[in-house]
């Protein structure tokens, strides 16, 4: 987010009056494969209201601005403090977490409209709730873990330098929310899990592949990860639109991670050609 965005949002927060009515326009869908439609709800805004509190008000009284009684809007949420990623949705055309989205910043005046849509790159379960299991599939595809399972104690791991820990820390803050994937022009909706082994992995799991490749025990699986990253859907398919790093709520240096993996697969490619 740029400084001008910050300033504009702070100004909007200052000018916002509690008790005003704001229109929440929600993209509704009754289930997978069902058609979608928009419904608009008028919500009275209290100080500090966010998208989730508005959705709770709508759930308590699901009546549209036309006065039609409808079903409560379905959404997913968990921590309500932007660390779980469950409430990610598209707000006014851009993907972000809804819990950290303050109404005062997005709709400071009476009658302002906020549009809510489900994430566009994951299959819709219902309304604003999507199935994000493809991200977990991609973590498995890249073996994004430290291999320590076994039948006896392996003892203490290798000593880690503070510098290496620091570099990995940023990558480890990924909450698998999927913002980077939703904003990526190269990551497309794939309903069928059958295509998930060859479809584009995307920044989320790339970051995790780098995290575990730079961990001295995790690096035992480094070449396995690189092989996947060199194949269809791997890091070689990245188109460098760099939206991922701009929408990441945790400010993970995803484009640098992608470039690092690019270097790693280049070296691996030469090694594979000339050595193995």
């Amino acid at each position: 987010m740029t400084t001008t965005d910050h300033a504009a949002r702070a100004a909007a927060r200052r000018s916002a009056k509690p008790g005003r009515k704001v229109l929440i326009r929600v993209k509704r869908c009754e289930g997978p494969g069902k058609p979608s439609r928009f419904e608009t709800f008028a919500v009275t805004i209290e100080r500090g209201a966010n998208i989730i509190s508005c959705l709770q008000q709508i759930a308590a009284n699901p009546v549209t601005v036309e006065g039609t009684r409808t079903t409560p809007v379905v959404w997913d949420s968990g921590c309500l403090e932007e660390v779980c990623g469950a409430c990610t949705m598209i707000i006014n055309g851009k993907v972000r977490q809804s819990c950290s989205c303050l109404i005062d910043e997005y709709a400071p005046a009476e009658g302002d409209v906020i549009t809510l849509e489900p994430m566009s790159k994951f299959p819709v379960v219902r309304d604003l709730w999507v199935d994000r299991s493809r991200m977990f599939h991609n973590l498995k595809r890249l073996r994004a873990w430290v291999p320590i399972d076994g039948t006896y104690s392996l003892g203490a791991g290798p000593r880690e330098s503070p510098d290496a820990q620091e570099a990995r820390y940023k990558l480890s803050t990924c909450m698998t929310c999927g913002c980077c994937l939703d904003a990526c022009p190269q990551f497309l909706l794939a309903e069928s899990p059958a295509s998930w082994d060859t479809s584009f992995v995307g920044a989320q799991a790339f970051g995790q592949a780098l995290l575990f490749n730079s961990h001295s025990t995790g690096a035992q699986l480094k070449n396995d990860r690189l092989e996947v990253l060199m194949g269809p859907g791997g890091v070689v398919d990245c188109g460098n639109a760099q939206n991922c790093v701009k929408v990441c709520p945790k400010e993970i240096p995803l484009t640098e991670a992608i470039a690092s993996l690019g270097r790693a697969v280049t070296i691996r490619g030469f090694t594979r050609f000339f050595t193995s």
Partner: protein, 280 residues
Amino acid sequence: MTTAHTQSHQGPLDRNYFLLRRLHSLTGVVPIGVFLLFHLTTNASVVWGMLDSREGEALRERGVRTFQNEVDFIHSTPFLFLVEIFGLWLPIAFHSILGLYYAKTGKGNTASYGWAANRRYSLQRLSGYVGVLFLFYHVATLRWHWTFLMPGGVAWDGERAASTLALVLRGASEAALEAGASYTLGGVIVSLFYMLGVSLLVYHFANGLWTAAITWGLTISQKAQQRWGVVCAGLGVALMALAWSSLLGFMTLDPKDAAAIERSHSGHKGPAMQLGDSQH
């Protein structure tokens, strides 16, 4: 597990996926990008050649002569046809076909996310599509002499390089010029298409050079990517200047004057003759 599982289903294209991806990136830089650099420099000689003007010689004259010398020099390359096939046409066909296939795997979203890098991503693909069309037209008409695609049926002639190129951009044959034509509508369209096509291809190369550095892992940190971005932008501006100066140079060139210069020039041709030329 996953690796073994997916590899058992892989065809030859998937098995060599990495190699093809990297060759696609490499061919864009060498030979295609390097050729573009030389090609635009050669074409612009109709303008920078003027700086080499001799005493008593019109500026235009030296430009036309320099360009003709450049063309003669290229045409004197041994095994030119093989160099063209393996150094240019095959790499360009490879880069284009794979590029079209790769471009289809993405879906631009600049309407929602209008950031500069995202716009460059979409423009890279658009310039690829238009660039393929433009290159095909360019090579088909000027190299393969498909004159039916040329307004006025003009054919480019390497022996009269500058004057026939001026005719091409005017869309008028010599006979039409005699009858008083200057620029035909077809010529204006061809000229505009050249302006657009060349500009997009220069962009495609400069931006491709920037992304290639990330793809290969040369530039990693955001700062390094910015620094390399300045270099690529600088190169792009320089190439754009060469491209536009050559196009403007040929568009403003009088084909009749140029033809007269070329007639007086023929006879002292080729690099060996140039030595004698300078003794005048």
